[in-house]
């Protein structure tokens, strides 16, 4: 994928037009919350808790779609996986996860790569 088409570009712009448009004639728009890690001082890494993830039952892939870092998330047999070494800990995947129990945990980054529970 070329630079002009990077995911980062898309999602940097993802909120912009809506914050401008968000004072509409129409009812107040519920705003997406800001990334949890934006103000957190500790370096974080995301992990997906498989048992809470609804990718295989509701065909959700919001985290994979919205992760701004190319290669930080991949799908394995339909399930999202975080590549810990690439993940920047931005927390967007956590914020967009619509599962009844949020399936993305943001953990403090300790080892270079965090094992994932199945």
């Amino acid at each position: 994928m070329s630079d002009t088409l990077s995911r980062r570009g898309f999602f940097a712009a993802f909120r912009r037009p809506f914050e401008r448009r968000a004072a509409p004639v129409l009812p107040p728009v519920i705003k997406a919350e800001q990334p949890a890690a934006a103000s957190a001082p500790v370096a974080k890494v995301a992990i997906v808790q498989g048992r809470f993830c609804i990718a295989l039952t509701s065909f959700c892939a919001a985290c994979v779609e919205r992760c701004p870092v190319s290669g930080a998330m991949k799908k394995e047999r339909g399930m999202p996986m975080v590549v810990a070494d690439v993940c920047t800990g931005c927390g967007i995947c956590h914020d967009v996860c619509p599962a009844p129990r949020n399936a993305v945990l943001m953990l403090p980054r300790r080892q270079p790569s965090t094992p994932q529970p199945a």
Partner: protein
């Protein structure tokens, strides 16, 4: 692997709170609150036509938890992402809680008495210029009350549901093939089929629980071949063995190609065809009679063969872009009687200006090949709304129907309805009313120019967002002071923007209700919590206005014996004035309306069980027929002797409502045609619109659910990376999409969720801030009058 069972203990609302807290501390979510003090009851999910059942947990008068209902056959405890959060749909911050009347341009609170009086005066002034625009989200009793009110009370047929925008072509498809509406098969077919063909049907996003039922089979090691035939790669395509991409509007060519091969190779099922089928084509003169377009004219098998002659695989490849060898593959599949093939479709066929024909051809290839009438061998349409079948179709809230599949144009049917309603013969108007598109067109047209609809009452739907070509069919109402728009809803919407009177409604478990899902399953629930403020049931609103008209002396509000049309008695036999809101729940009005409606259901063998049977069940599929032992048995596979009690012994298959009255179904021929507006030099792209997983239709409910909103915050336009590169668009850049109807600025999403082919765009319609219907065309199918939202010509430019 995920166990379905694990989801049962997930309580979405409690979990959401825990998750928010967890986020603040960036720690794992605490276990969901214990169940203490929570009262549980059953209800179907408020959202889609899949018709999952949920268990609703109520504490202190609020819905506090939602679980998948394990006793429900449809979902076996599972829900999709919308279903898990369905309880939150009740608790958006801006629920409507008071009637509002527009004065000097501003919506101001008024009392219910004033509201009911205002509507009644509008109707009294010009009853024939009043119309009701209803919904496949109406509960069955609500739709029935509205239908009776206008057809028996006002002698007017100007009522149509939003299902006109959604399932109308499926209806005309079923009617013209089998003589009676709704699928023969059911969801069990998905468990049994060897091949599932998804005709323009993105089941993974639109009917996720159904799709998981299929995918689950694979994880259990069963073999099922999935074939996606569509115009854009979707999340569903990712799971399919074959993805066949066709040029928009050319799906009819593909189906003709399959029929051509079956005949050419003598691989059709001659026994089935001879015993159970006749052939039909569109009439040469559609204006010959009002039923001509629906019933068509007979053709011989030889004529049928000749008509298919040109549709060789190579010719079909030229028309559709699908490689000839893939057409041959489909032909071989249908030729193989050993396998079982289920076809599903939804808006791809229905929102199609040749939608009726698309439906007919799909039934046709199943009938021609004999892939019909065994579990797993069925052509089945899926509905988008929870009660598109139950309310819009079965209750007959369309402008050409009466309840139970009776037809306005049929004099005997009218008399039968008049008999059940106990109104004088001739009370029901013999002409069909204005269908949705005509209704809104006439509403938007000034009276002196033929705009013969002055007042529309909208319930449980959002036409200001969902009608096509909104400038023409909705927004043109603005600035016409003699036009009066009444909207009953739970939130402000794009429709209330132009409303003159807004009525706050109770929704879902704030009232008693019944829905009917895609597989003929009728479902029931009870009120569990009170609606906020002064919000009241939609059926009550209708009955209160009827009563006010009665008191003002409108003769139609009385039956033959001078009794009010909506007279309900309690157990002691006393009449209860249910039009007084505090008395509305003194009797179960839903039950009373349903028991009356049930009398209609026998005519077309859509038999419904007594209300109390539905209280016990997680829905029952009609015809529900009483057994010798007094129990009630549902029917999974209609027209097949092994399961349908109405099929004669020894008949094997019997289409007992056959159009040709000989127990045979009709195999139609219909040619592939060009779309009304195809891309050209000025507007070089196809524009398709549709839905997304997280949002339910116009998003007025799901956009108020924080989890769903965060997951899909706004609309976008999808385009192919090569097209974007050529135009120099970066991902996320705001661009303008223009059609002959207008322009829309929105961000472009490249390599996003869906993958349109080159020269093609896709925009979801859930976002009221970015109304794609400002620019859609809405060319209508001549038979079903359903508009096409899936194709028009568009251009793109830097914003």
């Amino acid at each position: 692997m995920i166990q379905r069972r694990e989801f049962n203990r997930m309580t979405a609302l409690a979990a959401a709170a825990a998750a928010a807290k967890a986020r603040a501390q960036n720690a794992p979510a605490a276990p969901a609150a214990s169940n203490d003090g929570i009262a549980w009851d059953k209800a179907p999910c408020r959202f889609c036509g899949t018709g999952c059942h949920v268990r609703v947990g109520v504490k202190n008068g609020r819905v506090v938890a939602i679980e998948g209902d394990q006793l429900a056959e449809v979902n076996k405890g599972l829900l999709c992402v919308k279903g898990y959060h369905v309880g939150l749909a009740l608790y958006g911050k801006d629920r409507l809680t008071q009637p509002l009347l527009r004065r000097n341009g501003v919506l101001e609170p008024i009392s219910w008495e004033e509201a009911v009086e205002t509507i009644s005066q509008k109707i009294m002034a010009a009853p024939e210029q009043f119309a009701i625009y209803g919904s496949g989200q109406w509960t069955i009793p609500e739709g029935y009350a509205a239908n009776k009110f206008i057809k028996a009370g006002l002698s007017s047929n100007h009522i149509d549901p939003n299902a006109r925008l959604c399932m109308a072509s499926a209806v005309t498809g079923f009617l013209s093939v089998y003589g009676v509406d709704e699928p023969a098969g059911c969801y069990d077919d998905l468990d049994k089929c060897d091949v599932l063909i998804l005709w323009g049907n993105n089941m993974a996003e639109m009917h996720p629980v159904l799709f998981s039922r299929v995918i689950d089979r694979r994880t259990r090691g069963e073999r099922v071949t999935l074939i996606d035939i569509g115009t854009r790669r979707t999340r569903t395509s990712e799971f399919c063995d074959h993805y066949l991409e066709f040029r928009p509007h050319s799906d009819l060519a593909i189906m003709n190609g399959i029929a051509h091969l079956l005949i050419k190779k003598n691989a059709f099922d001659p026994k089935f065809v001879e015993k159970f089928c006749n052939f039909r084509q569109s009439p040469k003169d559609p204006a010959a009679s009002p039923t001509a377009p629906l019933n068509g004219e007979a053709m011989s098998f030889d004529d049928y063969k000749a008509a298919l002659e040109p549709y060789t695989p190579e010719h079909v490849e030229k028309l559709s872009g699908v490689p000839a060898e893939k057409i041959r593959m489909l032909g071989d599949l249908f030729a193989d009687k050993k396998i079982r093939i289920t076809s599903t479709w939804c808006m791809g066929f229905n929102q199609h200006s040749r939608g009726t024909n698309a439906n007919r051809l799909c039934h046709g290839i199943h009938l021609l090949s004999g892939h019909f009438g065994r579990p797993g061998d069925a052509p089945t349409s899926l509905t988008g709304q929870p009660s598109a079948c139950g309310t819009a179709r079965e209750v007959g809230t369309m402008c050409q129907f009466l309840p139970g599949g009776l037809q306005i144009l049929n004099e005997e049917h009218r008399h039968e309805a008049e008999h059940i309603w106990n109104v004088p013969q001739g009370r029901i108007h013999p002409k069909i009313g204005h269908h949705t598109m005509l209704m809104w067109e006439r509403f938007c047209t000034p009276a002196e120019k033929g705009g013969d609809i002055r007042t529309i009452w909208v319930q449980v739907t959002n036409p200001g967002q969902t009608l096509p070509n909104l400038h023409r069919f909705f927004k043109a109402k603005a600035g016409q002071p003699d036009k009066f728009l009444i909207v009953s809803d739970v939130y402000r919407t794009a429709t209330t923007e132009l409303a003159d009177l807004v009525l706050p409604s109770a929704m879902w478990v704030e009232k008693n209700g019944m829905f009917g899902n895609s597989e003929r399953r009728t479902q029931q629930w009870f009120r569990m919590v009170r609606p906020p403020g002064e919000a009241r049931d939609d059926a009550w609103q209708m009955i209160a206005v009827a009563r006010r008209l009665h008191d003002l002396g409108h003769a139609g509000m009385k039956d033959k014996d001078g009794r009010f049309l909506f007279t309900f008695k309690n157990d002691k036999g006393e009449e209860v004035p249910v039009w007084e809101w505090p008395r509305y729940y003194d009797v179960n009005v839903d039950k009373a309306l349903f028991e009356e409606y049930r009398l209609f259901s026998r005519h077309k063998h859509k038999d419904l069980a007594p209300y109390d049977e539905y209280v016990k069940a997680r829905g029952l599929r009609w015809p529900v027929v009483q057994q010798a032992d007094g129990s009630w048995r549902e029917t999974k596979f209609r027209f097949s002797e092994f399961d349908d009690p109405y099929v004669k012994k020894g008949a094997e298959i019997q289409f007992y409502h056959s159009v040709t009255k000989d127990d045979k179904a009709l195999i139609w021929f219909a040619p592939a045609e060009k779309a009304a507006e195809e891309p050209d030099a000025e507007f070089p792209f196809w524009l398709c619109t549709g839905r997304v997983l997280e949002h339910w239709h116009s998003g007025s409910l799901t956009r108020r659910i924080p989890q769903l909103h965060a997951s899909m915050p706004h609309s976008y336009v999808e385009m192919h990376p090569e097209d974007a590169r050529e135009k120099g668009f970066t991902n996320g850049e705001t661009i303008t999409v223009r059609t002959r109807r207008g322009g829309l600025r929105l961000p472009v999403w490249i390599d996003g969720r869906g993958h349109p082919p080159r020269g093609s765009l896709f925009i979801p319609f859930f976002d009221e801030r970015l109304l794609c219907n400002d620019i859609t065309l809405g060319d209508i199918d001549p038979v079903s009058k359903q508009p096409d939202y899936k194709k028009c010509a568009a251009a793109v430019a830097r914003a």
